[in-house]
């Protein structure tokens, strides 16, 4: 007799469908409910992002939602900052306190509020709030995350990888992945890789570390960190030399034929030749004469030159060919620097060309371009590229990202079937984005959006005395294209009073006293420093977190947030939606359970605060609230007439998409549809979107843009040239002397490579080894460690050493190493990895925890063995001679150069008891989690 197994247990009483927020990928989840509680979470099969699958973090959401580290009530600091001595207060007291600080500031010096919002998924809302408040000091975390990637993409082709586009997973046959461990598009990439490989397609992983995606790569290119630009341009060199480029594509869809002033003595040297309407000119092969680039029927000539008024003009393409055909970019020249044999670079270039051109295919789909030419088919180029922070988080990252885009554009694969595709609302050229704004009026709103895309030196946010208008010094000569702000500079600038002092630092969802900061030790000190009068240098700090993170102890007022299952959120087309290449989409979160603590959704709190402060946009002329909470805002706010945070079910009868008046039942429709809305892109509009009339018209109809805005890709960036030109002494807007050389070098209109920040010869000798971090797939930054399930997988993070360093130093399993950089020193456990660039060490990011935080016991391995590399990374580079110390950042965008870190390694003998440096334990605001868990909701 065989025992009987229960094969049909009841699964749940109800499924509530919402959106995951264990990371920023925004997958759809089915939350199974039992007794009104969350019992089990699985992926939503209908959801466009994850199509049913779910990552480890997503499935562990139940442990996050119930984590003992959840904050329970508003807190007011009563001990010294950093002591963790707080008093529980009511929400009324908390909001009165905040209003008491913020209202007087707004009346006199709104810029003395710095509002920065970390891993915020409601940036169009928080940004709007900050704009109505009137401070110029607002940004989210983009500046230290991937602004190089975002900005290089927008300035080159109107969108980037990251969340703005994806490989054509159904058609691509070869994918090159640069510097990606996990990315934001976490599940879609995994789904795509699985499909690609199951189809017999191939993956080339360019990454110093062979783990994760690079482990399944058919080819692993273990490049030396910071040298991708060279590697990419060497491939470009090979492709140009062999003539394996898509000339038809280049002439039609890029500025390759646009005429550039080639006279070094002319004031407009390097600028485009334009007609009276300001349109870029090309030579038409039909007539041999200049014509506007978008003239119907024009056949732009790449081979011509043009003389006009004594000045020679050459097409962009010729400048490009001149540069990259030079021996500087020959595989032999770059091989050693990149750590890749020349033969392998050649072979990879050949493989790319073979697949792009010999395996090319056409989709039977007619389409019409912006010049009115109808194409019978869509020309496919089944080679795609994807890249993320590995090339982005270096001081040469902007130009490296540009180089990668140039490569894929030369192949004609961007927006071609099989290549890289944008996700609506992208593509969007620079011109379709706002410029940054800084116009402050006491008691009034800012004169426009904070962040944007500058078109030239005149758009920088500089005050009359040339100093920065923003506390983070975004949009200054130091980093002109800092389109996402520079969150990592806020605390140190505010501490230094440079460019000015602030009064209140208002942070949301950012662990700035720990893993999000460079030089964590110093940042903790800056947050607690007092001035001569005994006052804190940063007088007020308000922080909203949902959990007892390291940052909590450093705030004066804590506004405890709900978990992601307890609130409304809006993942909006105004912000970073959930679109896929074939469909535009947006999504919500909604309270699938009610909070059981005295916590409030941060967005509701912002609405409340806005009303208390009487902010325009949130109050009417009589000072009465316009929205009673965030859900109301999501439903009824209109950014432009008919355009609101959500695109689905608009209009009184819920039939309108994209444009339409608000629908009071909109959220119910979203909930009924599984928490998201999706509108397919019409068939004929699916590829070649920047030039495809069908797409442009559809985008206008959907409210993604207000008029068709076709454009061509910028192989050559005239905007960059304008900055370079200014640095060469032209024009009214002039950089400070000490930055001229840097601007001339970094703001080259054609991508180039220069060694990353800490690769100077002297530094390399003293600190020869590159040190990197990677995202573990099963952890999200600091916030995964409170998760009882996930922390068993990644409770510690050894420093992985390549075989060479392992053997040279005689390391054995169980050993520890002292790791020193120009900025400091840490002592940490080590482990051996053979599939690693021989000059690189790495560890998992953000596993190390400060003792006492996150409701973990003080002897938790995260606190005793886990560690951060951040102690080694300074926000400024070591001094070079008498010059002011330069930021450890990309000179174009200000992107934090996390991955430029160079170190030296010694065996720590005897090893310490605990990872060093050690900090005193934090006082927990939530007590300790339970000893044992036997989690079961049902029964």
């Amino acid at each position: 007799m065989q025992p009987t197994a229960e094969t049909s247990p009841p699964v749940s009483e109800e499924i509530r469908k919402t959106t995951c927020y264990m990371c920023a990928c925004r997958c759809g989840i089915n939350v199974h409910m039992k007794n009104g509680k969350v019992a089990y979470i699985e992926g939503n099969r209908d959801h466009p992002v994850n199509k049913g699958v779910l990552c480890a973090k997503g499935s562990a959401g139940i442990m996050q939602h119930n984590a003992p580290a959840r904050l329970r009530t508003p807190l007011k600091r009563i001990g010294p900052r950093g002591s963790g001595e707080f008093q529980e207060i009511t929400w009324d007291e908390a909001l009165d306190m905040a209003t008491g600080w913020l209202a007087p500031l707004r009346a006199e010096t709104p810029e003395k509020l710095a509002f920065f919002t970390g891993r915020d998924q409601s940036q169009s809302f928080t940004g709007y709030w900050a704009q109505q408040y009137g401070t110029p000091n607002y940004a989210a975390h983009g500046g230290f995350c991937s602004v190089n990637m975002a900005t290089a993409g927008i300035y080159t082709m109107g969108g980037s990888f990251w969340e703005f586009g994806q490989p054509d997973w159904t058609h691509t046959k070869l994918l090159l992945l640069f510097g990606v461990a996990e990315d934001h598009d976490s599940n879609p990439i995994k789904i795509g890789l699985g499909q690609l490989k199951s189809r017999g397609g191939r993956l080339i992983g360019v990454n110093p570390i062979r783990s994760g995606y690079n482990a399944v790569a058919d080819e692993w290119v273990g490049i030396t960190p910071g040298t991708d630009g060279l590697f990419i341009l060497a491939i470009v060199h090979e492709l140009l030399r062999a003539g394996r480029i898509d000339l038809a594509y280049l002439t039609r869809f890029t500025n390759a034929p646009v005429l550039v002033n080639d006279d070094p003595t002319a004031p407009d040297y390097g600028l485009f030749l334009r007609d009276d309407d300001g349109k870029m000119l090309v030579i038409d092969r039909n007539s041999g004469k200049p014509a506007a680039y978008d003239t119907p029927g024009v056949r732009p000539d790449l081979a011509a030159t043009h003389r006009q008024a004594g000045v020679t003009y050459r097409p962009v393409f010729q400048l490009l060919a001149d540069r990259y055909l030079s021996d500087e970019y020959a595989p032999e020249t770059v091989a050693e620097t990149c750590g890749i044999p020349a033969s392998r670079i050649r072979a990879i270039a050949a493989e790319i060309a073979r697949v792009a051109f010999d395996e090319a295919f056409e989709l039977e789909q007619e389409w019409t371009d912006f010049r009115g030419t109808t194409h019978r088919t869509m020309q496919g180029r089944p080679v795609s590229f994807h890249a993320m922070r590995g090339i982005s988080a270096h001081a040469n990252g902007f130009q490296t990202c540009r180089a990668l885009h140039i490569l894929q554009i030369l192949l004609g694969s961007v927006e071609a079937p099989g290549g890289f595709r944008f996700k609506p609302p992208y593509p969007k050229p620079v011109e379709a984005h706002p410029k940054p704004h800084m116009g402050v009026t006491p008691n009034g709103p800012l004169n426009g959006p904070h962040l944007g895309f500058v078109r030239g030196p005149e758009d920088l946010l500089l005050r009359d005395d040339g100093s920065a208008a923003r506390i983070d010094k975004a949009f200054t000569w130091e980093n002109p294209l800092s389109s996402h702000g520079l969150m990592h500079m806020v605390i140190c600038n505010a501490h230094a009073g440079d460019p000015y002092r602030i009064d209140t630092l208002f942070l949301y969802m950012a662990n700035m006293a720990w893993n999000s900061s460079m030089d964590t030790t110093k940042v903790m000190q800056m947050l607690t420093d007092k001035d001569a009068a005994g006052e804190y240098v940063i007088p007020h700090i308000i922080y909203s977190d949902a959990y007892d993170s390291e940052m909590v102890a450093y705030a004066d007022l804590i506004l405890p947030d709900t978990t992601y299952l307890e609130r409304y959120d809006c993942i909006s087309l105004l912000d970073r939606p959930i679109s896929e290449a074939d469909a535009m989409g947006d999504a919500i979160r909604w309270p699938v359970v009610a909070p059981d603590r005295d916590v409030r959704p941060f967005q509701d709190v912002l609405v409340d605060l806005a009303v208390r402060l009487g902010l325009p946009g949130f109050t009417d002329d009589g000072g009465l609230p316009v929205y009673h909470d965030y859900a109301d805002y999501i439903t009824n706010h209109q950014r432009r007439p008919g355009i609101g945070p959500l695109a689905g079910w608009r209009g009184k009868d819920a039939t309108l998409v994209g444009r339409g008046e608000p629908n009071p039942d909109q959220l119910t429709h979203y909930i009924d549809n599984g928490g998201f809305f999706e509108q397919p892109v019409p068939q004929e509009a699916r590829y070649f979107k920047p030039w495809n009339t069908a797409y442009q018209d559809w985008a206008v109809e959907m409210g993604l843009s207000d008029n068709p805005q076709p454009y061509v890709f910028s192989l050559y960036s005239e905007i960059l040239r304008k900055f370079q030109r200014a640095a060469q002494g032209h024009g009214d807007h002039q950089p400070p002397e000490h930055l001229r050389a840097q601007i001339i070098r970094a703001m080259d209109p054609l991508p180039l490579w220069y060694p990353a920040g800490q690769d100077s010869a002297q530094a390399s000798e003293e600190f020869p080894v590159h040190a990197l971090t990677q995202r573990p797939m099963a952890m999200y930054h600091s916030w995964g460690s409170q998760n009882a399930w996930l922390r068993q997988i990644h409770g510690v993070n050894p420093l992985y050493l390549p075989t060479k360093l392992w053997q040279e130093n005689g390391f054995q399993p169980g050993d520890w190493a002292r790791v020193t950089s120009a900025n400091g020193s840490i002592t940490v456990p080590v482990a051996h990895m053979a599939g690693l660039n021989p000059n690189t060490v790495w560890t998992w990011n953000a596993i190390g925890k400060r003792k006492g935080s996150w409701a973990l016991s003080p002897d938790a391995p995260e606190a005793t063995h886990g560690f951060l590399l951040n102690h080694l990374i300074g926000e400024l580079l070591p001094a070079q001679g008498s010059e002011p110390r330069r930021p450890n950042a990309d000179p174009v965008t200000g992107q934090a150069a996390w991955f430029d870190l160079k170190v030296k390694i010694e065996k720590a003998d005897p090893p310490p008891e605990q990872a060093q440096p050690e900090f005193p334990p934090l006082r927990s605001q939530v007590g300790r989690g339970p000893q044992n868990l036997a989690w079961r909701v049902g029964k």
Partner: protein, 305 residues
Amino acid sequence: MHPAPSVILFTVLSGFGLGLLIWLGLGYPGVTGWKTFIFYVLAYGLTLGGLLASSFHLGNRKNALKAFSQWRSSWLSREAWLVLLTLLVMGGHGFGVVFLASHIPPLGWLGAALALATVFATSMIYAQLKTVPRWNHWTTPALFVSLALTGGALLAGQAGAATVLLTLGSALQLLAWGLGDRRFALRGHTAETATGLGQIGQVRQLEPPHSSPNYLMKEMVFSVARKHSLKLRAIALLLMFVIPLLLLVLLPGGFWICGFAAVSFFVGTLVSRWLFFAEARHVVSLYYGDATPRQPGTGQTEPSP
């Protein structure tokens, strides 16, 4: 394997107890009446004490009776039956010897056979495991049985038999160690066969699946340093065989001498049994082999031999 005190005590104590029962069943020492009572108490005490110890190894004692159900296939189940029968039969036999001063040979022989079978069944629990090549060999039952007989002989004051058995046992022990040391490799279990990745090349663990300890690692991925184990082997040999033999051979045989020899042998057997577990390498360790030490308490601190 993790040398859990409960299992070590169980096998050693019950081995001694059952060994003594074998001798008692066979009619040694040839006494009857109250004098014998103490032997039976000792034998039952040891056997039951062992059983009690073993129950600490159970996660869920309330179901313990269920362990009798699978005698057709499970050595553990067979052991349970056999020990029960042994205790019953020998109880009957003992009753006769102690209270009726009458020795019923067929009953005694049956009891002795059952006791022997029990020890054998215990040993087969280990010997049957292909997953632990060191155990998976005839030397395991041979050694268990020999040690039980020896212990019993010493307790029963059978100096002559004990001398022979000790000599035999030492040879068996050395053989078991000697052959056992090579068996894992001989069976061809490697990280390459465990993962099936040997086609590509040599396999090494990069990152364990969990940074914190789990049941498998605590229970099965245990290793002792070679140095350490050689020292312990020497100690075990000394206590189990050398000292008892010297006592028995050099000193005039007698109850007390046997007693001292038995104590030495007992302690030595505990050491040997500790090594029996600690040196036994389970094939699952191949999946964790050369594991990077992640945090204290994960058991493994160096590559398995």
